[in-house]
């Protein structure tokens, strides 16, 4: 009998490392997907550049609300920063990182609870707070890895196609995307901690994200409702165009505060709740 197989395992030394260990295959696939996405964006860029005049004329003909919602206010659409702001950061980059973070956040506690692996985990000498914190940190790490991959893929694959954004400001835009994903991932974690239901947490958080996106993108076109935009986390994500202006500390703090508040709710609600049998 191969009982000597029972040996210590560095990646299984804590809930944090074990959760990352569980994600290793998924992270490889996400990485490949992000590299493919970056390659596609890079490969299309030369043709955008070649048709700059036509495209810019088209952009100018767009209604104002559409332009302000999705296009850079200060950069030419066909510049690297303008292109990335409009094509990558206006939807696909936040979408991808949000999908990952919301999934990880919802799965963290509610996933284990639904699969019935939580009872044994929580009868080890780890407090509930400690387990939630480790799960939260694993989500932060996974999302961070994907953000870094996105940055590196565009930085590496863009250059041969003349897609050469200012790498520091591009990093700021990626960081802002990361913070946005963190905010929604933490909300999903809190929903999972409070309800123990993974599907519900994914659904509610995704709906909230979609609503926030629309609030930020469409409502400003109605002047009287412009203030509503400020309620949307998306407003603090890219409305200040980090790819042009760098990260606005105040906006970054708002996103961090949302994540922090949601994390606090996760700790608090999980601490005081009965676990599902």
């Amino acid at each position: 009998m191969a009982t000597e197989a029972i040996t210590t395992h560095r990646m299984l030394a804590s809930v944090l490392t074990k959760t990352i260990h569980d994600q290793r295959r998924a992270l490889v696939w996400w990485t490949l997907g992000l590299i493919g996405t970056a390659a596609m964006y890079a490969a299309i860029y030369p043709s955008v550049r070649a048709n700059a005049e036509t495209l810019n004329r088209f952009v100018k003909s767009m209604p104002e609300w559409l332009r302000t919602s999705f296009l850079s206010t200060s950069q030419d659409y066909t510049s690297p920063a303008g292109y990335l702001h409009t094509e990558l950061f206006s939807w696909l980059a936040p979408l991808l990182l949000l999908v990952y973070a919301i999934g990880a956040g919802a799965r963290a506690i509610a996933g284990e609870e639904e699969r019935r692996t939580l009872d044994i985990l929580l009868t080890t000498p780890l407090s509930r707070r400690r387990v939630v914190t480790d799960k939260f940190l694993a989500m932060v790490a996974g999302t961070g890895v994907l953000a870094a991959v996105l940055w590196a893929a565009i930085a590496g694959l863009g250059a041969p196609f003349d897609l050469r954004p200012d790498l520091l400001k591009f990093a700021a835009a990626v960081a802002s995307t990361f913070l946005l994903a963190l905010a929604f991932g933490s909300i999903a974690l809190a929903a999972g901690c409070a309800t123990g239901r993974r599907g519900l947490s994914v659904g509610v958080t995704s709906a909230l994200a979609a609503l926030s996106y629309l609030m930020d993108a469409l409502l400003p076109s109605l002047k009287s409702l412009a203030w509503v935009q400020r309620l949307s986390p998306f407003h603090y994500y890219a409305d200040h165009e980090p790819i042009t202006n760098g990260l606005d500390p105040l906006h970054a703090v708002v996103l961090l505060a949302i994540a922090g508040a949601a994390f606090a709710v996760a700790l608090w609600s999980f601490e005081r709740r009965d676990l599902a049998a």
Partner: protein
């Protein structure tokens, strides 16, 4: 004797659904305490209250002298727990799972875990997803025993284990008792509790209806015995014997109900040619009948 578990008016309601009601009992150090009741009686609820997985509606519990609620983390460090229904991390091997839990318990000493895997005949190198129910149960048992806890809380521990492994499990329980450690074990089958426990608490519809010494329980235990003789035997040969009740005869067969020891019945039967003797284990319902003279619905 120190109380390792002390429940005081421990009550749990799930909304309007009954969990357990005003439980008062104590489990002493070094004993094996059986917690017996039909499914749905509240056994798992009690155990999850003791381990702070759920919180009481009223009343309290003390485990190893500490408050079950406030000191849960410290209690968990000194308790081994096997849930009644649980899942393991399917993507890990048994070995990885055990190493993970050992690490969370702050130890890298896995020698006893290896010994247990050997004794329970588990191949820990297999991925948990590919293990049978019985083998998953073994992994669950090992994680409960492997840190040699002062108190073991086992919810229906033998479900899914084949008989040989059950024997090994009973030996593990005996070893715990010999070490002065305490075991709290729930079950819905009487023979298991009789076999390994010193005392038994009987729970029914959320209430603890009795806490008995196993010896006393056996003395009161009622069972049905079927005797098959070579020739017809008059039932009068058995009527009125000590402990024997309700004798019915049908040709060469006699069926009777016996409370306590079967000695008198067996000696009386020996006067005739016995073809076969079958003793039926009492169901929980029969035990309740013997104890309280009322059936499942007559309790409250």
């Amino acid at each position: 004797m120190a109380d390792v578990i002390l429940a005081e008016r421990l009550t749990k309601w799930y909304g309007k659904q009954r969990g357990v009601l005003e439980l008062d009992f104590s489990v002493h150090q070094g004993e094996v305490f059986g917690y017996l009741g039909p499914n749905g009686a509240g056994k798992t609820t009690t155990i999850r209250l003791l381990l702070d997985l759920i919180r009481p509606t009223s009343g309290r519990a003390t485990v190893l002298g500490m408050d079950a609620r406030r000191d849960a983390v410290e209690i968990h460090g000194r308790v081994g727990y096997l849930p009644g229904e649980f899942a393991l991390y399917e993507n890990l091997t048994g070995a990885e799972y055990l190493a993970h839990l050992a690490a969370l318990r702050g130890t890298s000493d896995l020698r006893y875990a290896r010994t247990l895997a050997d004794r329970l005949d588990l191949d820990p190198s297999m991925r948990i997803a590919s293990l049978s129910h019985g083998n998953k149960q073994k992994v669950g048992l090992i994680q409960a025993f492997m840190h040699r806890p002062e108190l073991l809380v086992l919810d229906e521990p033998t479900q899914g284990l084949d008989p040989l492994i059950q024997q090994e499990f009973y030996r593990l329980i005996s070893e715990c008792r010999a070490d002065g450690r305490t075991v709290f074990l729930s079950s819905h089958v009487m023979p298991e509790v009789e076999r390994v426990c010193d005392r038994v608490g009987i729970i029914r519809e959320g209430r603890l209806v009795a806490v008995e010494d196993i010896g006393e329980l056996k003395a009161k235990e009622m069972r049905t015995i079927d005797l098959h003789f070579a020739n017809p035997v008059p039932p009068t040969a058995f009527e009125g014997l000590p402990g024997v009740r309700e004798v019915t005869a049908e040709g060469d067969r006699i069926r009777c109900t016996v409370v306590g020891h079967v000695d008198a019945l067996v000696k009386a039967a020996a006067a005739f040619e016995v073809v076969d003797l079958v003793s039926h284990e009492p169901t929980l319902e029969e035990i309740f009948l013997a104890f309280y003279g009322k059936g499942e619905r007559g309790g409250d």
